[in-house]
């Protein structure tokens, strides 16, 4: 018997670190930062070499502010040291490997000791607790199982919570919908774009998602927007919570939204956040957008020192209504990688999404195509026509096309060709949405 099993989303002892008074939290962070920097310096040649170059020793880290003296780590470093070059534990202590899909060259490999898996499990369990899930919930885990961290990360956390986990993994949308309906699922974990796909498919199959007990969606693993959240919540009875994480740091469970849905709280006792100007590397002020940089405070097998996530976010220090002292990050809606430079102008897919939404009121399926024709960048936005917006005359459709085109131009400051396409002709993702096709050979 566990006296804590059914606290029904109220304070749970496993979430206690979320509520540490700030002086104690900062003290804990400093102790752990010193531990991890020393471990990285002693055991990983890359970290030692870079710190020596900068003439910084682990003993120079006397306050949290001293973190800026440490060098950054990038994804390239992980590739260059493939497969095990950044490990700080001998292989015999490694109990788990994960790897990225490796769409751009070699995959990156990450590793965990037994304690690391335990920390990760706790972080995921705290994530589920933060959005009001508890034992007795039935969680359909549609994150991919396998080398991707999403599936197993959420699985371990959900089991530790005492919830019933359905390890369905990604894909096979019809089976997802059948199980959602037949098992009385109360929470689902997947990417937000996949859940939108699932909503559409359920409608086609005549399954009323609003009639199901589904009440929480734990959505992450890709950048998404407030508009997507609103659409999901309008078409189902669930609350859509943003979970943040990345394999290089640990996997899902680096940060998670609470019931207030006002940005994911970073589990700061495990992961130390900074936001920097991606160009200069200098820290930005509280609340200002920049690139999120994370340092793992406990990860033994593979410490990450000032890892540049390429995710664009901001840190909010304001106290949240839930009482957690953990700082919140702004939902990641874009990445430094997503940024397209078109005719010298920075364009993010999220800007185009906002423009489309402003015209239609709901978010249509769309895809962005970038090409270079005779030396000039061309931007085309393909938008699926929906029944609500299909006028029966050529004039009405031309008008819709022009309104979309003007809206995009107003937001990004560039002329975009809008092409109306038939429904279901744009690729639907079973995982991360592919919104941009860049055909330029740059």
């Amino acid at each position: 018997m566990n006296p804590n099993r059914d606290l029904q989303g109220t304070f749970h002892p496993a979430s206690a670190p979320d509520y540490l008074p700030l002086p104690q939290l900062r003290q804990l962070q400093l102790q752990r930062l010193r531990f991890i920097v020393e471990r990285a310096y002693e055991r990983v040649p890359l970290y030692r070499g870079r710190m020596d170059e900068r003439k910084v020793a682990p003993s120079d880290i006397r306050s949290l502010g001293d973190i800026v003296r440490l060098p950054f780590t990038t994804k390239t470093d992980l590739r260059d040291t493939y497969p095990f070059g950044l490990f700080a534990s001998p292989l015999k202590e490694i109990v788990r490997f994960h790897a990225s899909s490796g769409t751009t060259g070699k995959p990156i490999v990450v590793a965990y000791t037994e304690e690391d898996v335990r920390d990760w499990t706790q972080a995921m369990m705290r994530s589920f607790l933060a959005c009001g899930l508890h034992s007795g919930d039935v969680i359909q885990n549609a994150y991919g199982y396998g080398l991707f961290t999403g599936g197993l990360g959420a699985h371990y956390g959900a089991e530790a919570l005492g919830a019933g986990v359905i390890p369905i993994s990604g894909g096979n949308t019809e089976r997802q919908i059948m199980i959602l309906k037949d098992f009385g699922v109360t929470a689902i974990c997947c990417t937000p774009s996949y859940f939108i796909h699932l909503i559409e498919r359920a409608r086609e199959l005549g399954v009323d998602l609003q009639a199901l007990p589904l009440r929480a969606g734990v959505f992450g693993a890709e950048p998404w927007t407030e508009e997507m959240r609103q659409r999901i919540e309008a078409e189902t009875n669930l609350k859509a919570y943003d979970i943040y994480g990345l394999s290089e740091i640990i996997g899902p469970g680096v940060a998670m939204e609470c019931l207030h849905q006002s940005g994911p709280h970073i589990f700061e006792d495990l992961f130390y956040p900074e936001v920097i100007d991606p160009q200069t590397g200098e820290p930005v002020a509280d609340g200002v957008e920049g690139e999120l940089v994370l340092t793992t405070l406990c990860k033994r097998a593979m410490p990450m020192i000032r890892y540049r996530t390429r995710d664009i976010s901001a840190l909010h220090e304001a106290v949240c209504g839930c009482g957690r002292t953990l700082r919140r990050i702004k939902r990641i809606s874009r990445r430094t990688d997503d940024m397209m430079i078109i005719r010298g102008i920075n364009v993010f897919p999220s800007q185009i999404e906002a423009a489309l939404l402003a015209v239609e009121g709901t978010l249509p399926h769309y895809q962005i195509l970038v090409d270079r024709v005779k030396g000039l960048d061309e931007l085309e936005v393909q938008v699926e026509v929906t029944a609500e917006f299909f006028g029966d005359t050529v004039g009405a459709l031309e008008q819709l096309r022009q309104r979309l085109s003007h809206a995009v131009e107003r937001v990004i400051g560039l002329r975009a060709r809008v092409r109306l396409v038939e429904p279901h002709t744009l690729q639907r993702s079973e995982g991360k949405a592919k919104r941009v096709v860049d055909k330029r050979k740059l």
Binding site: V385, T386, A387, F390, G391, D392, T393, V394, L397, E398, R401, R419, L420, V421, E422, P423, H424, T425
Partner: protein
């Protein structure tokens, strides 16, 4: 008096039109008449069938965007000036024609045209006042022996 017409959004690419037609053919649905409005990028297929709701379901199940619109089938004398006279009726009444196309059948020197108006009810009134025959569903299907 008003008849149901289906409008289907089509991309301007090989197979878009044939796909829609094939779907209807497989369900044994015969087209009474159709027309295709096209631009460089996309087209609108407008068609009339007897069982429009079934046709709509079939097209939608194929993933098409379908809109049901109301049109009129208007008789026009098959002689030089027949259409010009008819259009004068609308002109006098200040009624705008969105688009029009034709049925392929002819009866007693009368042609039959499909008209889409922004205000079909006013068009019916104007036509009747001018003594022009507007063919209803029952009569239309009789002429097509459906």
């Amino acid at each position: 008096m008003k008849l149901k017409q289906l409008s289907v959004f089509l991309e301007n690419r090989p197979g878009a039109l044939s796909g829609a037609c094939r779907g209807l053919a497989e369900a044994g649905i015969n087209l009474i008449t159709l027309c295709l409005a096209d631009t460089q990028q996309f087209g609108i297929l407008r068609l009339m069938v007897r069982d429009w709701s079934k046709a709509k379901e079939i097209l939608q199940a194929r993933g098409a965007v379908v809109k049901v619109t109301e049109v009129l089938a208007v008789e026009v004398p098959d002689r030089p000036g027949g259409l010009a006279d008819l259009l004068e009726v609308f002109e006098r009444a200040g009624i705008n024609v969105d688009y029009m196309y034709a049925f392929t059948v002819k009866q007693e020197n009368l042609g039959l045209l499909v008209f889409r108006f922004d205000d079909p009810d006013r068009a019916v009134a104007a036509l009747q006042a001018a003594g022009v025959n507007v063919v209803d569903e029952v009569e239309l299907f009789r002429r097509f022996e459906l």
